[in-house]
Symmetry: C3
């Protein structure tokens, strides 16, 4: 199995599917091609949330704002999975979630400066070659070698005590839910109460259905982080936040 | 084969694909993940139009505005198909189209109030379990039992006589075609004539190509209902209608 | 393998997938369903760029603004591929790229004037029938016959000398890159220099990363044509062009 993720929209992913179907026997499954263009952090977040649900696979990721620079092309062994993508950090959070002992390899001699389409001409052939290799072993492949240094994406850690949490918005999902870096456990004493979010009160609810339509709420999403949402609306707009906005939660202790 | 339908957009459907690929050997085919968010009626309409074209399959449907409430999780046997989804009526029109003798089962003991992602954590595992079961038999599965009462979506019936039809807009498709509940047969005497639609005249044409570009027309779509359309434009805007709008057709008899 | 391409968006492609899955054993791969509605030239361009990357396949293409007219339904043998689609020229550029000796067949007796959904009811059954036929042989199929005349899409040829190129914008991609009909080789002497584009200066760069964010550039895309782009923005807007706009490039010779 090879999964495909990119920020290409259409029609470019189809050429990648063609190369993979030509060069491998792999079953192909799309993750998404709708990642925000060039947004390495958002892609890194979602890949970490999603890829661990898959059986062992080669995961091809092309979110590559540095295409045309001399950034490396990486393949990472993590548990029974292999991740293939650019050296910009996008692969590291999911690698780390799959296997803290992940091993990073780089492709030798990529001609970066040319009008090749790296997704189609460099990344896809590498993913296909790994998929066809015995046991997906990277050490057995030619033209690829272990590296010690590579880019990482790190999500900021929140500051939390019993009554207060200071963090930030990690990503906005397609429906406007603002997903923070504050763990959902912060809310576990506050169900059906009200707390302060950046200075204004908002109810804490286990599900959207617990508040009236169009009402704001703080809840915990499937990613197990605190999420700023609106029942049937956009949380980012209602709370006035965007990716990276600071988030200050304060419990009303009395 | 398992088909997937939802209103999730991206990237959430990918986690569902991962669970299905981990827990079953099923071929996976996407129906769409672009159903209007929480719009059970529109999803029910399209599923009834589309799923009967498939060979026997387990059809997983997650359009679930009641997630987080105690609505049931259903599996429905209909002919050689099984439909899996929430108890909000979305599955019933297609079940009924596949097999008037459809049989409804509910999953026991779903913990509704939690920050689980029901599509990924409840519905997908159930669909995979059914797919892997002998002959997809629901009676043989543990934790699932027949139910007699469940929600339904019913599309309103139009009032029709020889010269007049009173109905409503069932759905607007992505291109702005307003699909009504009035059967196409009402127009069978009117090809290339003009009739009155909510008080204003419009031509009746067998195909878009029969009217000039940007012109309004009444026609019959592949769903065999009367459709309000514009050749190369949006029928909903040109006719001033939205989902649920009343539609009054009157033939010019003379 | 059957590939699917259309301008249908959602949910109509799912009905086509259902028919193909019911009537053939083919693996199904989507190219895209996001072609601009009714835009035969843009679809023809992308199919020529993308389909040759696939292994031998039956390629089903439904971009069919003439549905409802008496346009033919074609199947084209090109190398080891078969292309199925309407007779409006959309298949010809890719047929020609795959095999200059391509052979064109038409389906007999299609009832064009009816409220059938040709993608689902005519094209998909034909693609499935071809896929299931021995060696995908068109001559062996009933109800299909060779034709000598058919529509073509021809992309205009540019006028080029050593210092000047006059051409046009063939397509705008989803990100606003304006892809011209001028071959990339015209720029091979100009890397990192400035040339005149429709009278205004613009830098020539091998990759987007060679200019500052939000800056215009001329570059060569994976299609090997000159492309008018903006680093992290829309080239069509920055250069004031749309599909079909004239493009005049002039080198600053001194």
């Amino acid at each position: 199995m090879i999964t495909l993720s990119s920020d290409f929209g259409w029609p470019y992913p189809a050429a990648i599917r063609g190369v993979l179907a030509s060069r491998s026997s792999a079953r192909l499954i799309d993750i998404t091609h709708a990642f925000p263009r060039g947004d390495v952090r958002t892609a890194a977040f979602w890949l970490r949330e999603i890829l661990p649900w898959f059986p062992p696979a080669v995961h091809l990721v092309v979110v590559d704002p540095g295409v045309g620079t001399d950034r490396d092309v990486l393949a990472i062994e993590a548990d029974d999975h292999v991740l293939v993508g650019p050296d910009n950090g996008v692969l590291v959070p999911v690698a780390s979630a799959l296997d803290p002992e992940y091993a990073v390899f780089a492709l030798d001699q990529v001609s970066a400066r040319s009008h090749t389409f790296h997704g189609r001409d460099v990344f896809a052939p590498l993913a296909a070659r790994i998929h066809e290799a015995d046991e997906w072993s990277l050490t057995a492949l030619s033209g690829i070698f272990p590296v010690e240094t590579f880019e990482t994406v790190q999500f900021p850690k929140p500051n939390i005590n019993e009554t207060e949490a200071v963090g930030e918005v990690l990503v906005i999902d397609q429906f406007g839910n603002a997903i923070t870096n504050i763990p959902g456990s912060f809310l576990s004493t506050e169900w059906d109460r009200t707390i302060s979010v950046n200075g204004a009160a908002a109810p804490v609810a286990q599900t959207y259905a617990d508040v009236d339509p169009k009402q704001r709420l703080l809840t915990v999403g499937s990613h197990e982080n605190v999420e700023m949402a609106v029942h049937g609306g956009r949380g980012d707009e209602a709370f006035g936040v965007t990716r990276g906005s600071p988030v200050h939660l304060q419990k009303h202790v009395d």
